[in-house]
Symmetry: C2
Subunit: 209 residues, 2 copies
DNA sequence: ACTGAATACGAGTGAGCGCTCGCAATCTAA
DNA sequence: TTAGATTGCGAGCGCTCACTCGTATTCAGT
C-alpha cells in the first residue's frame, strides 16, 4: 500500500516485463523440477537465458521470485477458473457442485506443476509463508462462503472447520492426482470426488441437496 | 561359508550405541525444527554435544541419519501400536475399527514431531525415498490387508486404490492434527475419523459392517 | 546528438554446507 | 603392559549457494 507496487511508470517496460515473465517461466520449471530449497537462483537465471545480475535486477532475493510466481499463479487461477468457486455453484446438488469445483482445479494443478511444488513444500513456512498463505486462504474462504450459502444454519465455527478439513483433504490427495498418468487420472479424480462428497454429506445437515 | 557377516560383534557397543542414540535424538530435534534440507549435519552433531567427525563415525552421510531415524521411528511405532493395524481389527464395525487405528497413530505422530517432519517433506524424494518409503508402504500394506479381510469380494486393484486414497487422505489431514492445540484436538480428530469413515463406507460394498 | 535511466552481463565474494583427516583418548583382550 | 580396535575431536577442504558490483549496452525523451 505504501509502495508504488503496481504502477511503476518505469521506462523500458516492454523489455523489462518480458524479461520478468521469462524469469518466472524459468523459475516455474526449476521449482517444479527441484523444489524451492534445491533450486538455485543461478540455475533459474540460466534457464531464462539471463545472467544472475539480471535476475536480481527484477527480484530482490530468492523468496521474492517465489512470491511473484505465486502471485502470477493466483491471477491465472482466478481468471481461468474463477467460476469454479462462484457462490452460485452452491445452488447445485452436492455431486454436481463438487464436479464444478474439482475438475477445473485438477486441470489447473496438473497444467501448472510449479504451483503444486510451491504449495506442497511444508518447510517453506519460514521464508515463504507470505507467499503461499494467500493461495490456501483463498480456497478456504471461497469454500466457506459456498458452505454458508448451502447450509445457512450451520454454526460458523463448525462451518469453518468443515471447510478447512475439506481443503486439507483435497490437498492430501493432490500428490496422487499429480502423480497419476493420464490413463489413471479419471479413477483418481473419481475417488477424490467420492471422498469429498462423502465427507461433506456427513458434515452438512441432513436434507441439504 | 566360514563368514557370517551379519552379526556386528563390535566392541565398545555401550558407549557407541549410546552416542548413536544421542545423535538420533539430536537429529530428531533439528529435523523437526528446520526440516531435512535446511538441517545441517554440524548442527545435529552440536545438538548432540558431539563433533562432526564423531557423527560421521556412525553415519556415513546425511541421508543415513534420516534413514536410521526413520527406522527407529518404525520400530517404536510397531512396538507401541502394532495392534492398531492388527488384522483382527477388521472384524470390528467400521467406526470402531477407525477408532482403534486412528487414536494410537495420532498419539504417536504428536509425540514424535520429527516423524511427521520427515514424512511430510515431499522433495526428500530424491535422496530420501528409501528412508520414507517403508513407512508409507507399511501403512498402505496393513490397511490393504485389513480391507481384504473386511471386504474379500473387492477386486484387488480397487482395494489397493481405496487403501492408497485412505492413507493419503489421512496424511492430508495430518497438518491440522499436528497444528491443533490440545483443546482443539478432539474436534480435529473427530473430523478426521468422520472423513475416513464416510469415504470407506462408500468405497466398500454395501452391507459391510 | 546527448543524457540518464533501465537493462544486461558474469566474474567474484563471503558464507555455509557436507564431509575428511590426522591424531588423541579410551577401552577390551591377551 | 601392550596391541589393536573403537570412540572422539575440530580445523579445514572443496564446493555450491545467494547475492554484488563494476561496467557495458540499449532505449526514451529532448
Amino acid at each position: 500500500m505504501t509502495e508504488d507496487t503496481v504502477k511503476p511508470a518505469r521506462k523500458r517496460q516492454a523489455r523489462g516485463e518480458k524479461r520478468m515473465a521469462e524469469l518466472l517461466d524459468a523459475a516455474e520449471e526449476v521449482f517444479a523440477a527441484q523444489g524451492y530449497a534445491k533450486a538455485s537462483t543461478n540455475a533459474i537465471a540460466a534457464a531464462a537465458g539471463a545472467s544472475p545480475g539480471t535476475l536480481y535486477q527484477f527480484f530482490k532475493n530468492k523468496e521474492a521470485i517465489a512470491e511473484a510466481l505465486m502471485a502470477r499463479y493466483l491471477t491465472r487461477l482466478r481468471e481461468a477458473h474463477g467460476e469454479a468457486f462462484d457462490p452460485a455453484v452452491a445452488e447445485l446438488p452436492l455431486a454436481a457442485m463438487i464436479d464444478r469445483i474439482i475438475d477445473p482445479v485438477v486441470a489447473f494443478d496438473r497444467a501448472n506443476p510449479g504451483f503444486y511444488a510451491l504449495l506442497a513444500d511444508p518447510h517453506l513456512a519460514a521464508d515463504m509463508a507470505n507467499a503461499k498463505r494467500p493461495a490456501q486462504q483463498a480456497m478456504f474462504e471461497r469454500l466457506d462462503l459456498i458452505l454458508k450459502t448451502k447450509a445457512p444454519g450451520l454454526p460458523p465455527e463448525q462451518r469453518a472447520l468443515t471447510a478447512e478439513v475439506a481443503v486439507h483433504l483435497f490437498r492430501g490427495l493432490l500428490p496422487m492426482v499429480m502423480a497419476a498418468t493420464e490413463a489413471a487420472l479419471p479413477a483418481v479424480v473419481s475417488e477424490t470426488k467420492r471422498a469429498l462428497s462423502a465427507y461433506l454429506a456427513t458434515a452438512l445437515p441432513p436434507g441439504t441437496p
